[in-house]
Amino acid sequence: MLANEIYEILKKEFGDGILEFKEEAPSDPYISVEPSKIFDICHTLRDSSELMFDYLMCLSGLDLGESLGIVYHLYSFKHTHKIVIKTTVPKETPTLPSVMHLWRTADWHEREAFDLYGMIFSGHDNLIRILLPYDWEGYPMRKDYNEPEEYHGMRVPY
């Protein structure tokens, strides 16, 4: 199924929840959605018989300056089609629903996004840091992050 058809289906179902569709080479076609609806949209994407996105390839965090972006790359084994779902959350209140219970692989991806960008995935069972030490402060992948001078007596900048 082509990306614009997927967009049509989602638009029909969620209306205002779907913000934008963009298809422009060389970028992958993507659909922007409301962050609060992300769980429902992903649920539809996974379970609707004509979409069947059962494979979450990648979940990435982004720093867009004013806001934080989360990008879902989805793939369907059955229909062998792909789609990119994008959403943004404000930096001050970066809360959005977790998709961990739809695709278990999102568990670690969301933990990583939380770890590096500081999004709060509500509904995640175990949202703790994954790559950084558990007592690290700040979210280092944000563009405005200043690295600390010291961590437990060790000098950080090399």
């Binding site: 970028s27 059962d54 990435s60």
Partner: protein, 384 residues
């Protein structure tokens, strides 16, 4: 000896003391600096919590400060035993952003290199898996053969492990004249050793008893956890990016996708995941033979390398390729300058490792090590 059923965790309501054991980060069998917090009841594993990040070296943060070609040495260091395969999806992603058409010869050399590196990676994977089971000798036979492959790669790229060979739009260096012959010789050696190891290790009764029927990963769980590569194919899912989401020139070659069949135990056990790797080596050999036969002799490998690397602003792409361990993807976002805005590496091992707590519960402690070995992780890629 096929009584190795998964022990039901609810098997006993007895008052039993459970012991928490830290496996790693400096444990000989965690394949790197992985720490597993294991709760064991006697010998039976009741809970596994992986703690990762001991090898975290801020790959993604680094990339934001690098120009596009400078990222390649860092990409090499993700999955450092199959560096050629790592470079490929990254290079392809940037090439797609820049809309570069790669010369024919480069494509063939890339295929040969990637497949050779796949063989080298699977050799290490099977060898260390045997080592986890206690068999030391096959380990050294594989390492002996891997040397022939590494010599070829060293002659082409100048490095033995971290090649920096695939450049955006081309290759760092052309192949040398006797390249084809040496590749074919290396393949011959690989096949010989594989046949030997099949008898020495894979079909050994003790090895089968150790690895069959443990760590069973059903196909639906594997897909939900986004497992890929031999970990997924071991569960019987016939899915290979080289065929199913074909890239480069893989559609020109005739090869099979080996899947686990549950030959000696249940479908999706450790033995299946391992045998898939053994068969994949043979398939890679086939691909290499065809590629060597078809490869054009003439052509400049550097002709398409762009002088200026500035992908259009806002362009972004997710490019994935079949790493020996599974799907390795790079999500590259450009901001119009010569430095990427964001590079996310979807580490294969990172994703595959996340399934470990699910498939290792209820088996023996010694099995945990084998299950970990069978999903073949490299901590460089897990922690990035």
């Amino acid at each position: 000896m096929n009584e190795t059923k998964k022990i039901q965790l609810e098997y006993s309501q007895m008052e039993s003391d459970r012991m928490r054991l830290n496996v790693g980060p400096q444990h000989p069998s965690t394949h790197g600096v992985l720490r597993l917090e294991v709760e064991i009841d006697g010998e039976i594993v009741t809970e596994v919590i992986p703690h990762i990040g001991y090898l975290h070296r801020c790959f993604e943060k680094h990339c934001e400060k690098m120009t596009y070609p400078q990222v390649i040495p860092y990409v090499d260091r993700l999955d450092y035993i199959s560096a050629m395969n790592n470079e490929w999806p990254y290079v392809m992603a940037v090439e797609k952003l820049l809309e570069i058409k790669v010369p024919e010869k480069v494509e063939y050399i890339r295929v040969i290199m990637a497949e050779l590196n796949r063989i080298a990676n699977h050799q290490i994977a099977v060898a260390t898996f045997g080592l986890d089971a206690g068999a030391f000798t096959p380990f050294l036979y594989f390492f002996r053969d891997r040397e022939y492959i590494l010599w070829i790669m060293e002659k082409c790229s100048g490095a033995r492990l971290l090649f920096n060979y695939f450049w955006i739009g081309g290759l760092a260096h052309d192949v040398y004249p006797s390249f084809k012959q040496e590749v074919l010789d290396a393949i011959k050696q690989v096949r010989k050793t594989n046949a030997e190891v099949m008898n020495l290790l894979i079909y050994n009764k003790i090895f089968i008893d150790r690895t069959a029927n443990i760590g069973i990963l059903p196909a639906d769980v594997a897909i939900n956890y986004a497992c890929s590569g031999p970990t997924l194919r071991g569960s019987g899912v016939k899915w290979d990016l080289r065929k199913d989401d074909t890239y480069s020139i893989y559609n020109r070659f005739d090869f099979n996708i080996p899947v686990g069949k549950g030959e000696v135990g249940q479908l999706g056990d450790c033995w299946d995941r391992n045998i898939v790797r053994m068969y994949e080596m043979e398939e890679s050999c086939k691909i290499i033979e065809q590629a060597v036969a078809q490869m054009p002799d003439t052509g400049d490998v550097k002709e398409a390398i762009p002088a200026k690397l500035r992908p259009p602003k806002g362009a972004e792409i997710y490019q994935r390729a079949e790493n020996p361990k599974g799907e390795l993807g790079f999500y590259v976002v450009s901001n119009g300058t010569e430095k990427p805005d964001r590079i996310k590496a979807r580490g294969t091992s990172f994703v595959n490792l996340s399934v470990l707590p699910v498939i290792s519960k209820g088996y023996m402690f010694a099995d945990l090590i084998l299950i970990l070995g069978s999903i073949d992780i490299v901590l460089g890629e897990v922690d990035r």
